[in-house]
Amino acid sequence: MTARALLLLLPLVACGGDDKAAPEAGGADGSADGAGDDGADTGGDSAAPAPDCPPAPLPVEQAYLPNFTGAEDFAFDPEGYLVSIDQLGNLVGIKRDGSSRLILPGASTFGAGTRFHPNGELLFNAADRGELVAVDPATGGSRVVLGGLEYPNGLEVDAEGFAYVAEQISGRVRRVDPDTGDFSFVARGLYNPNGLSFTADEETLYIGSFGGGTVWSVSRTADGGWTTPAVFGESPESPGVPPNLCLDAAPGTSCPLFGAGIGACAVDELGDARCLPALDEGACGGLAEGDACTTTLLGQTFAQRCTLSDAGALFCPAIDAALTEACKRVDMGGTCRVGVEEGFCYPSFEGVLGCYLSSTFTEGYTRDCVDRAEGDACVVYDALYPTLGVCQPGAEYGLPGLACLPEYGLGEHGGLDGVAADVCGNVYVTEYVLGEIWRFPPTGGAAERVVTLDSEWIPNLHWGNGVGGWERDRLYVMDRANFGVFELFVGVEGR
């Protein structure tokens, strides 16, 4: 485990029991190998055969099936259809032989997590509308189970029929009753939670971080709650999950909004210490739009003009007035000029157009580390996207001396999307833009490469259901780039 991973453990929040009956621990046998008893898949009341472990040697063989939808996620139905939301926003089923079925036109312009409920309904996340939706595949009848979700992507369903939704923006995983929409929290304070998968016994839920390259595990407790998320593993070269600097900070302290500039520490109504966006509205109290105002951020003072935020509130932007002045009559992306230097207009972290000057890049990243030591906390004085970081050797980044580098990842490594556990307890993840499939052993820790797929966009992966040629011991991976499906001969069944 890396140092970052250790830090990660601090901010995570365990969530207690909810208002519904505690799920029974059906299938949990306490087996040391984490394989469980395999009962969840068969649903039978007799003992299931022991899983055929271990899986096939690596790298596994693969085949390619063209002409599917390139969807973010998918599920297999009892008739042999691969069900997913296509690029036109329609929920469709497509068989291996190419025959198709239109289930629900106009399902979502950005469908994400897709799972079948034990009662036969299909659940999916409509990320464009922040909704969890249930569909009767027979009739196409649909209903919104729950709205107000903050970028719902990953979805899992347990044998009892509860849905588990990962909200990437808010860092939460909710457990939702699809009948009522009632919910409780399984985990909070996570960094970009995305893919979800239960173990075979459904006692443990794995949660992948998109950007952090981390897989967490949470387990059911005897009182119906959940354990504190623990790091199960990290994908190779992942940036790790950044620490939550608000845990021990006073409310109002500046903190990094990962990839989105600077916010302020606050305790939300659930009691979590979080870094939340914070515009200086107080500096414009009693003033009108365009009136002069003054605000401070990270020790810098900015003389600005009161500006209307997207939410309709007046605030004083924390950006050099010369930069906003240069973009006053320029659209985003347009050319601007400050002095003799030419730049382009780009929205600051507060949504105000400012002139980005590439000459400021080096100074912004090195200035605060000149008198500091490696490992010290520091400020990135980026004119548009200031943030907090740690002083590190800058040579690696083409920067002289020590540079202040933020601790977050949104790039290629660590972009874990789909998560899927097999009956042996191994956990498979997709690394979205790299085409990598990684496999963690049942005990977690270091992952090994299952295969590198020839695609830039591989979101989710699932085992076949044994119908229509979708084999139970093969993993299927959606290829968004080419609208096909990879078939991986992993040699072991899913949960």
């Binding site: 036109l88 919104v144 929409g181 109504e269």
Partner: protein, 346 residues
């Protein structure tokens, strides 16, 4: 730019959004939902043979060359609508009309140039989270969740087969997933009638789009304009052509670039806006569509709006050229550094 500002919305943000929407739709034109002479409002009972309009054949009455088309609804008033779309593999007919707007569906206008407009999907956040029967608004408050409404049976004339839809429970949505493909012929007059239910009866029109044939469906987004070509219509030419380019930012607020062109066979997406789109980040999956469409709208009591889109759609592949995403210097070619906030080599 068509009609803008003014009467489309209220307040500053609404005016801004309305200004945006004038690009493609205009906000005026149609009046209130018009009572339909053969289907009194409130008669929501569907008949066994298909409900409204199933009595006198399926050809729409009127002249497709002159029928009034009022454009699509502005997003901040769009309580719902109906879509007839001819896709590459199948056709789809769908619709739903609620009693309000789900806030997250109202996209914020960004920069525009010519026929093109950037739209930003914002993600409202509510603390504590809203209840299941509520929607989160941009100011952090929870609103009653807009509920889809029963408009009574809905019929559509002028398609390749009879379409008559009753609202499907529990979500009160309308669709026909078995309409023959292609659902509509070029220049056919399309007429949608709601029988009346929660709202008075509404009649909307469309004109069938000719097949959209383009030899520029492999979009390479680089430094210059993105040229688009397609075969112009040979008939009435009532349609416009919409190009839509989106880069999923995987959780961040994504921009979509939407252009509405004259249907004259060629156009270009301006380089400046493409640069803006890429500047917003390219960490996600890029996708594009080219759609030939007509749009009509009608007002609903209470300030809402319902529309009908009749379209044919082609999918484009999108490749981003001249932009190197990065999160470390190793990702950048020699001589370039990684701009970490923008995740791009420069």
């Amino acid at each position: 730019m068509g009609q803008s500002g003014g009467g489309c919305g209220s307040g500053r943000r609404s005016a801004a959004r309305a200004a945006l929407l004038g690009l493609t739709v205009g906000c005026g034109g149609a009046g209130e939902a018009e009572p339909k002479d053969s289907a009194p409002a409130g008669d929501a009972g569907a008949t066994a043979d298909g409900g409204a309009g199933a009595d006198s054949g399926w050809a729409a009455e009127g002249d497709p060359a002159t029928v009034a088309l009022h454009g699509a609804c502005p997003l901040d008033r769009r309580w719902g609508g109906f879509v007839v779309d001819v896709g590459p593999r199948y056709s789809a007919v769908t619709g739903a009309v609620a009693d309000g707007v789900v806030p997250v569906t109202v996209l914020r206008p960004g920069p525009h140039e010519g026929d093109c407009q950037m739209l930003l999907r914002e993600n409202p956040s509510c603390d504590p989270p809203c209840a299941p029967d509520q929607a989160c608004d941009f100011d952090g408050s929870c609103l009653p969740y807009p509920r889809n409404q029963d408009l009574g049976p809905v019929s559509i004339r002028g398609l390749s087969g009879p379409v008559s839809m009753d609202p499907v429970p529990p979500g009160t949505t309308y669709f026909d997933s078995a309409v023959p493909h292609p659902a509509v012929e070029g220049d056919a007059l399309v007429q949608l009638d709601t029988a009346g239910g929660a709202y008075p009866a509404v009649r909307l029109h469309g004109v069938g789009p000719e097949p959209l044939v383009s030899d520029t469906l492999a979009w390479v987004v680089g430094e210059g304009d993105l040229p688009l070509r397609w075969a112009p219509p040979t008939g009435l030419g009532r349609s416009r052509v919409e190009a839509r380019l989106m880069v999923d930012q995987h959780g961040l607020s994504p921009y979509t670039l939407v252009c509405s062109f004259e249907d004259d066979g060629e156009a270009a997406v301006p380089a400046g806006l493409l640069r803006s789109l890429l500047g917003a980040g390219v960490s996600g999956f890029p996708s594009g569509t080219l759609r030939r469409r007509t749009d009509d709208q009608a007002a609903l009591p209470g300030g809402g709006c319902v529309d009908l889109s009749v379209s044919t759609t082609q999918l484009a592949t999108v490749e981003v050229d001249g932009h190197t995403p990065c999160d470390s210097p190793d990702d950048c070619p020699p001589g370039q550094i990684c701009n970490i906030p923008l995740e791009t080599c420069q």
